[in-house]
C-alpha cells in the first residue's frame, strides 16, 4: 500500500524567493514565539546548537531587528487568535526572504497561509511539547510553500541534528494525531472507571511495549495541547471518533494533572 506521492512544494518564478540564511552549525539569529512549553523547548534545542535566540517579547520590536533574523518560528497550538496575530506581525515586519515555520497540528498550514501576504515563505511543523526530545520532526508544506522555504526548514533541523519527514498538510499531521487518540482512549477508560491510570500505563508499557504509558504521556505533553489537537480534529472532520473525553477536557481546562 503506497500513499499518494507527497505534494511537491511549488516552484514559482517572479516571486522574491526565500533565502536560505541559516548557516550550517548555527550562529544565526532566530525568533521563537508561541506557547510557553514549546518556546522553551525549541529555544533550548536551538541554543544548544549555537543559534542566537530572540525571545517572544522581541516580536514587538521586530521591525528594528528584522534584518538580523534568519528564521522565525511560531509555536502557538492553544490560542489560534494569538497565532493569527503573531503570524501577521511576523509577515509584516520580516523581509520577504525570511522563512516562517509554524506549528500546524491544530490548524492547517493552508489556513494559516491565508492570514499572511507572503504565503510562499510559510511551512508547517508538528510541534507538540516533548516531541523534540526525539530524532525526527514532521514537516508539511502548503500548496503555496516554495521549495526554497522547505530547504530552510531542512537546514534548520539538520543543524539541530534532527531528520525530517515530509507529510501532507493535515491537522494533527501523523504522530500527534495517533498519539492524542491513544491518550484520549486511555482517558475514556479512566473516565468510565474501567481501570486506574497507573494500571493503564503499566498495561500499555508491558503489554504492547509503549515507551510511556498514555496517561503519563498526556501529562508530559500537557492535556491542554492534547485537547487542542483532538478538538481541531473534531472540528475538521465532524466525527464522533475525535470527541475529547470529558475528563481529559477537564484536565485541559483546569491545568491539573491526574496524579503524582
Amino acid at each position: 500500500m503506497k500513499a499518494k506521492t507527497s505534494r511537491k512544494p511549488a516552484r514559482r518564478k517572479n516571486v522574491e524567493s526565500v533565502h536560505p540564511k541559516i548557516k550550517h552549525g548555527g550562529f544565526s539569529t532566530i525568533l521563537i514565539v508561541g506557547d510557553d512549553a514549546l518556546v522553551a523547548e525549541y529555544s533550548a534545542a536551538a541554543s544548544a546548537h549555537n543559534f542566537h535566540i530572540l525571545p517572544p517579547e522581541k516580536i514587538r520590536s521586530i521591525s528594528t531587528l528584522a534584518k538580523n533574523i534568519s528564521l522565525a518560528v511560531e509555536l502557538s497550538n492553544l490560542n489560534i487568535e494569538q497565532k493569527r496575530k503573531n503570524l501577521a506581525s511576523l509577515d509584516a515586519a520580516l523581509p520577504a526572504t525570511t522563512a516562517i515555520l509554524s506549528s500546524s497540528v491544530t490548524v492547517s498550514v493552508l489556513e494559516q497561509a491565508q492570514w499572511i501576504k507572503l504565503r510562499h515563505r510559510l511551512a508547517g511543523i508538528a510541534a507538540l511539547p516533548s516531541l523534540l526530545e526525539n530524532s525526527l520532526v514532521e514537516v508539511a508544506p502548503s500548496v503555496d510553500t516554495l521549495e526554497a522555504t522547505m530547504e530552510v526548514v531542512k537546514k534548520f533541523f539538520d543543524s539541530l541534528g534532527k531528520e525530517i519527514a515530509i507529510v501532507q498538510d493535515r491537522i494533527g499531521m501523523v504522530l500527534p494525531r495517533i498519539l492524542c487518540q491513544i491518550i484520549n482512549e486511555a482517558m475514556f477508560a479512566v473516565h468510565t472507571n474501567i481501570a486506574s491510570p497507573n494500571d493503564i500505563d503499566t498495561a500499555m508499557k508491558l503489554g504492547t511495549n509503549y515507551p510511556l504509558g498514555p496517561i503519563e504521556w498526556g501529562e508530559k505533553i500537557g492535556f491542554d495541547h492534547v485537547h487542542a489537537v483532538l478538538n481541531a480534529l473534531f472540528n475538521d472532520m465532524h466525527e464522533e471518533r475525535y470527541r475529547t473525553c470529558p475528563l481529559l477536557k477537564q484536565l485541559a481546562v483546569t491545568g491539573k494533572f491526574w496524579s503524582k
Binding site: 500500500m1 503506497k2 500513499a3 499518494k4 507527497s6 508538528a126 516531541l131 526525539n134 530524532s135 525526527l136 520532526v137 514532521e138 531528520e163 519527514a165 507529510v167 501532507q168 493535515r170 499531521m173 501523523v174 504522530l175 494525531r177 495517533i178 498519539l179 487518540q181 491513544i182 484520549n184 482512549e185 486511555a186 475514556f188 477508560a189 468510565t192 472507571n193 474501567i194 481501570a195 486506574s196 494500571d199 493503564i200 503499566t202 498495561a203 500499555m204 508491558l206 503489554g207 504492547t208 511495549n209 509503549y210 515507551p211 510511556l212 498514555p214 466525527e239 464522533e240 471518533r241
Partner: protein, 282 residues
Amino acid sequence: MSLHIGIVGAGTMGAGIAHVAALHQCTVSLYDIHDDVIRRGIERITTELKKGVEKQKFSEEEMTAALKRIRPRTSLADLDTCDIIIEAVIEDLLVKKDLFKKLDAIAHHTTILATNTSSFSVTSIASATKKPHRVVGLHFFNPVHLMNLVEVVRGEHTSDETITRALEFGQQIGKTSVKVNDTPGFIVNRVARPFYGEALRLLGEGVASVEEIDRIVKSEGGFKMGPFELMDLIGIDVNFAVTQSVYEQFFQDSRYRPHPIQQQMVESGKLGRKTKKGFYNY
C-alpha cells in the same frame, strides 16, 4: 504454600501458562482432550525452558524440577482439587461456556475458575456457572514466558476474594497484574486500537506512506515498532478480527471502526509475515 493450577487446553497459551506456573513452584495439571496435544505442549515447554537455561535465567535442576511439576491430564475430573483452573481453549464463546458449566460441576467449591479469553465478556462466560463469584479473567500475553503482564478481569459477579487470590497467583508466578473491569478489549486491546486505526486512516487519506508512518512513529514517537510492521507481525487477519470484535461489542462506536484497507488486505491473502506479504514484503 505451593498452588495447584489446572490448565485446560495445551496449545500455545495453555503451554505458556503451564511453563511459567511450573517454573514458579506451582503444581500444574495440564489438560487437553488429546494425548498428543499435551505431548506437543510439553515438548514446546521443554524447548523454551532449555533456552532459559542457556541464557542462565535458571539452572538445569530448576528446569527439571519445573517439568516434574507438570502432570498431563486427559480427564477433566482430575482437576477437581486445583486452587485455580485456567481455561485456554479456542476463542469460541459456546465452547467456553460449555466448558465452564462442566468445570463448575466438577471443581471443589473453593476453586477459582479463570478464563484466558481476549475477546469475550468474562460475565458472559461466568453466566454458564452456578457460582459466578469465583469466575475471573486472567488475560496473558503471547509469548507468556516473555510478556510480564496479566490483566485480571473482574466480571459483574466476581468477588473481592476471587480478585485477591488471582492477584496473589499473578505475583507468585512473577507477573505484573493490572486490574480491569469486564469491558470489551479490557485495557490493552482497547487502548491500542487508535495506534492501528489512526495509522490506517492516515494511509487511506494519503497523508503519508506505510514506510513514512512507521518511520515517524518510531523516530518521532519512540515506539519500538511502527503500526504497519506490528500488524504484519501480529497477522493482519488477527488484528482485523480483534478490531471487529471490539467495534461490535461497543455497538459500533466510531472510535473502534475497522478500516476498509484491513479488509482488503485480508481478502487478498496478504496477512503479514506469515504469508510473506503484508504491508511489506518478506
